[in-house]
Symmetry: C2
Subunit: 304 residues, 2 copies
Amino acid sequence: MKPIVGGIEAGGTKCDCVIGSGPDDIRAKIRIATTDPQTTIDELIRFLTGYEKSNERLSALGIASFGPLDLAPASPTYGSITSTPKPAWSNTHVLSTFRDVLRIPVAIDTDVNVAAFGEYCWGAARSLKNFLYITIGTGIGGGGMINGKLMHGLTHPEMGHVRVPQDNQADPFEGVCSYHGNCLEGLASGPALEKRWGRKAELLEDDHPGWRLEARYLGYALVNYICTLSPEKIILGGGVMQKQHLFPLVRSEVAALLNAYITSDMLAAHLDDYICPPALGDKSGVSGAMALALQEIDCLSGII
Amino acid sequence: MKPIVGGIEAGGTKCDCVIGSGPDDIRAKIRIATTDPQTTIDELIRFLTGYEKSNERLSALGIASFGPLDLAPASPTYGSITSTPKPAWSNTHVLSTFRDVLRIPVAIDTDVNVAAFGEYCWGAARSLKNFLYITIGTGIGGGGMINGKLMHGLTHPEMGHVRVPQDNQADPFEGVCSYHGNCLEGLASGPALEKRWGRKAELLEDDHPGWRLEARYLGYALVNYICTLSPEKIILGGGVMQKQHLFPLVRSEVAALLNAYITSDMLAAHLDDYICPPALGDKSGVSGAMALALQEIDCLSGII
């Protein structure tokens, strides 16, 4: 019998929570607004324990969380949100709160690492040992696997905060990042598009010049990730990437910037496959959270 | 008895080759000019077989090579140099040539990955699972370990070719990279410094404004590596970094650019230790090559 687990994707504006044995077997789900930590976590716990009362006990829980997170294995505050601009969430002990109440194994990682893990188990990155998942939406973030493991290090990647070349003549926009101004997130996130063009990104017509500029900044960032990490694939998700016409624009910027320096078919003939949308669509996060839960109880064999 | 191995560091202008059981037990060494592939490889093989005739048989050979290299394990041309601007070296089968003549296990990796491995075994990166080794000299390159393994992926990192912001007003220099113009290598390598200022880097006085600009470009690159990979340490080697006064300049650029966004003592109080020179000095490469040879015959236990 397949174990039934919970998967939470906690984002800055909403939280999704699913219960099931995998993305093709969802038994219950809920979407709530992310408000203050206590209200939000309480509501999620009520949903999970409510399911357990009427059905079966959950075997484990996986959490994909916005951050920054403390993911140092030896840290006494492992699994907590550290300093976030999101009011009231700084120093929230996410992992331990769920574990202490539910009394089941709980695993946590960054939203982007977990989405990457979902794509690795059931999506576009199956069997790859080195790939990236980048989300371009309210914020920009990236995660993925290197040498077959999710990316961790001193802390965890903050890929949205890389600096990219900006032509101040052509684009004098000062950026929206409260820490860095014109880092990638400052120049190319959804809020950056909205502030620069005075309209939400989804309201910009496909031939608006803003998309070419957007592709340019994303192209710079992707080329830098490629030169730094040599990933086998880059998956681009998030709200801004819902604009499908952005994919060919980004690919052509990447090809022009690399200028055939790195010899690889993937970066030439197969660039459409190399830079691609998530196969799980907007389900990468909750699916990855379920996979994280299954991994925590050693039940991923047969899947990966 | 410790196994005796060979270690080669093949650079664009010279090759170093050592024989011994580790960096503290070098039994023979040679430095030759890098000319055409046949002459250079023949000379190295003569040195290695000459040693074997008068002394003992070597157990294995490790090679740190300039690139780009074919390091795809399943490739029929594994261990060869692919397309390089260096005349005559394109498609040189480095690994198989040494292996076929010497008939011992031979391992190969990029010069920077191997230097990183040397620092991991005997130097500044002992016991770290995630760190970078960047060399800033005739070219700029980077390697290191992620999740406890040397960095490989689609091909291997080409960290010198990342793009960084350039203020064209303050520095209208077009860059020296033949592929990308003003990528990091194009703006901040030794040849870039020489072309921009009309003098070799080592002849620029310490208070020359070029150093502050150099620190700025390196700072941008390091911050991008940090945001992308979250390394636990960054070792800076190579000819340009012989200018010790460049270290505090780079550290202060990194601190200013990060703007305390990533919470970590290493990036605050311990930045001197976080961004540091190689503990093995200019011996990281040959030491790492010996370590690679020892690893190839499973003789690294007790060292790592």
